[in-house]
């Protein structure tokens, strides 16, 4: 069954027809980047919502998170693929359903989906900041939004970076859902290759290429987790105030 694995001829064919793999690889990377931006921006907004005093904002965030975490991504993506063009038609009043490129469906699909997870990461991060920080900020005259921006959110970075990288890693893998709607991504192009030349080389190559993106992220997670645990932080001598610092 696995005879083909060591078949030099097949590997030669594979290496000669890497074009579609690289196309898919690049396409996937682009979907990842745009999807990541969507999930980070929307996730941060929703995460902040979930920690505000406004019941409405908290409810919006809760409903969003529960909906996207409790329905499968492929179903969501199929839904965008089928319903999206008609929804856009209704909104824009176009004469026929508006075609949506697989790139947009992919980026929006993983973006919206992972925003729910990012939101939970951000919420946990914010809740890990002691209440006294907001009070100190407000006692100095910072508004709540300013306090979040300058004081609360920066303090969450150390805690949230590892899980955010984990989310990125999952997001990369989840872009493969695009193969379901003939997306032109890495998985889809690998599938095409497989249907002509057999599955072994095709799927192995796809795995290698996904691995190339994901493994460095996994290493980064490990590094960040270690760094977050490092307790005594080194002194930083700000260049602006050398004299008084050196006086000591």
């Amino acid at each position: 069954m696995l005879d083909g694995l060591f078949d030099a001829r097949r590997w030669n064919i594979t290496l000669d027809s890497m074009g579609p793999f690289w196309d898919g690889f690049l396409f996937t990377l682009q979907v990842v980047v745009v999807g990541l931006v969507i999930s980070l921006v929307l996730g941060t907004v929703l995460g902040v919502f979930s920690t505000t005093r406004s019941r409405v904002l908290r409810a919006v965030s809760r409903v969003y998170v529960e909906f996207f975490q409790n329905t499968p991504l492929p179903v969501q993506v199929f839904f965008y693929y089928m319903a999206g063009p008609r929804v856009l038609q209704a909104i824009t009043g176009a004469p026929s359903p508006v075609r949506i490129s697989s790139f947009v469906i992919g980026a929006v699909g993983v973006g919206l989906y992972h925003a729910a997870y990012v939101s939970e990461v951000i919420r946990t991060g914010i809740e890990s900041v002691p209440r006294g920080q907001m009070e100190a900020a407000r006692s100095q005259g910072f508004s709540r939004p300013q306090a979040y921006l300058y004081i609360i959110l920066p303090q969450t970075f150390k805690v949230i970076l590892p899980p955010l990288c984990n989310q990125t890693l999952n997001l990369v893998k989840n872009t493969s859902v695009l193969a379901l709607i003939a997306g032109g991504d890495l998985m889809y192009n690998a599938d095409n290759f497989v249907s002509t030349y057999g599955y072994l080389q095709g799927y192995i190559m796809a795995c290698v290429l996904y691995f190339v993106i994901c493994f460095p992220l996994a290493l980064l997670v490990q590094y960040l987790e270690k760094r977050a645990k490092r307790k005594p932080r080194a002194k930083v001598i700000p260049g602006v105030t050398p004299e008084p610092v050196k006086e000591a």
């Binding site: 002691p130 006692s139 910072f142 150390k158 930083v236 602006v240 610092v245």
Partner: protein, 243 residues
């Protein structure tokens, strides 16, 4: 002396809990007021109403003749008051210098150079100029609280509110913080200080306020207060903490 803080008919509820009951208190500009009282009597809540960290349920708090409202309180805080907390509440992700320059740069729109110079001057006053590049977690509790005082000073508001600034400190660090506060008290700054440091109260306070169960039961000069307080509850409390 002109009135700096005027509290009138102040009531505060947390849900059904009636925490402040018809509080009236006026503090003159430059006056030093010490608030004492048993735990849960509402001391923190009272001073937190002065910078609107707590919103009064009814009654008014006016600063320099202007009543605090939801609308103006941030602007009023920027202009009039700073606060020092029991738990220091320094920003742990910033250096000491960063803690001191954040508000001047972001809120008072000072240049980085200007803010840094002011911060270093404030740090010198509390004796910690050499710690400018350090992170709060690498400082002792006493040092952290002195940095917090410097952070309250650097924005130069006329009022400083202290909420039990030495209660979280190891005994050997209390005096270094009190010394800074005593030095501060020489100035024309208006101070309201919740503390159980009676030596400090004697030395610095113009008036001492005794609170219990959400009410002010006695107000007087330290002499009056420590020699012959009229209210029996107050006498009882003083006996407890002085002996």
């Amino acid at each position: 002396m002109a009135d700096m803080i005027e509290i009138k008919g102040l009531n505060k509820y947390f849900g059904d809990l009636h925490v402040l009951k018809d509080i009236d208190l006026t503090v003159a500009a430059g006056e030093k007021v010490v608030i004492i009282g048993p735990s849960g009597s509402g001391k923190s809540t009272l001073i937190r109403c002065v910078n609107f960290l707590e919103e009064p349920t009814s009654g008014t708090v006016s600063i320099d003749g202007t009543q605090l409202t939801r609308k103006n309180h941030l602007e009023m805080t920027r202009k009039y008051s700073s606060m020092v907390f029991q738990q220091f509440n320094l920003y742990p992700n910033m250096t000491v210098l960063g803690n001191l320059t954040l508000a001047p740069i972001k809120l008072q729109k000072k240049s980085k150079e200007e803010a840094t110079a002011a911060a270093m001057a404030a740090l010198k006053r509390v004796g910690l100029a050499e710690k400018a590049g350090e992170y709060p977690q690498n400082l002792s509790g006493g040092q952290q609280q002195r940095v917090a005082i410097a952070r309250a000073l650097v924005t130069k508001q006329p009022i400083i509110l202290f909420d039990e600034p030495t209660s979280a400190l190891d005994p050997e660090m209390i005096q270094e913080v009190l010394d800074v506060m005593i030095e501060l008290a020489q100035e024309n700054i208006t101070m309201i200080c919740v503390t159980h440091e009676m030596g400090f109260a004697r030395q610095v306070a113009d008036r001492v306020v005794f609170m219990e169960d959400g009410r002010i039961l006695e107000v007087g000069t330290p002499e009056h207060f420590f020699e012959n307080p009229e209210n029996p509850r107050c006498r009882e409390f003083l006996n407890k903490i002085l002996h």
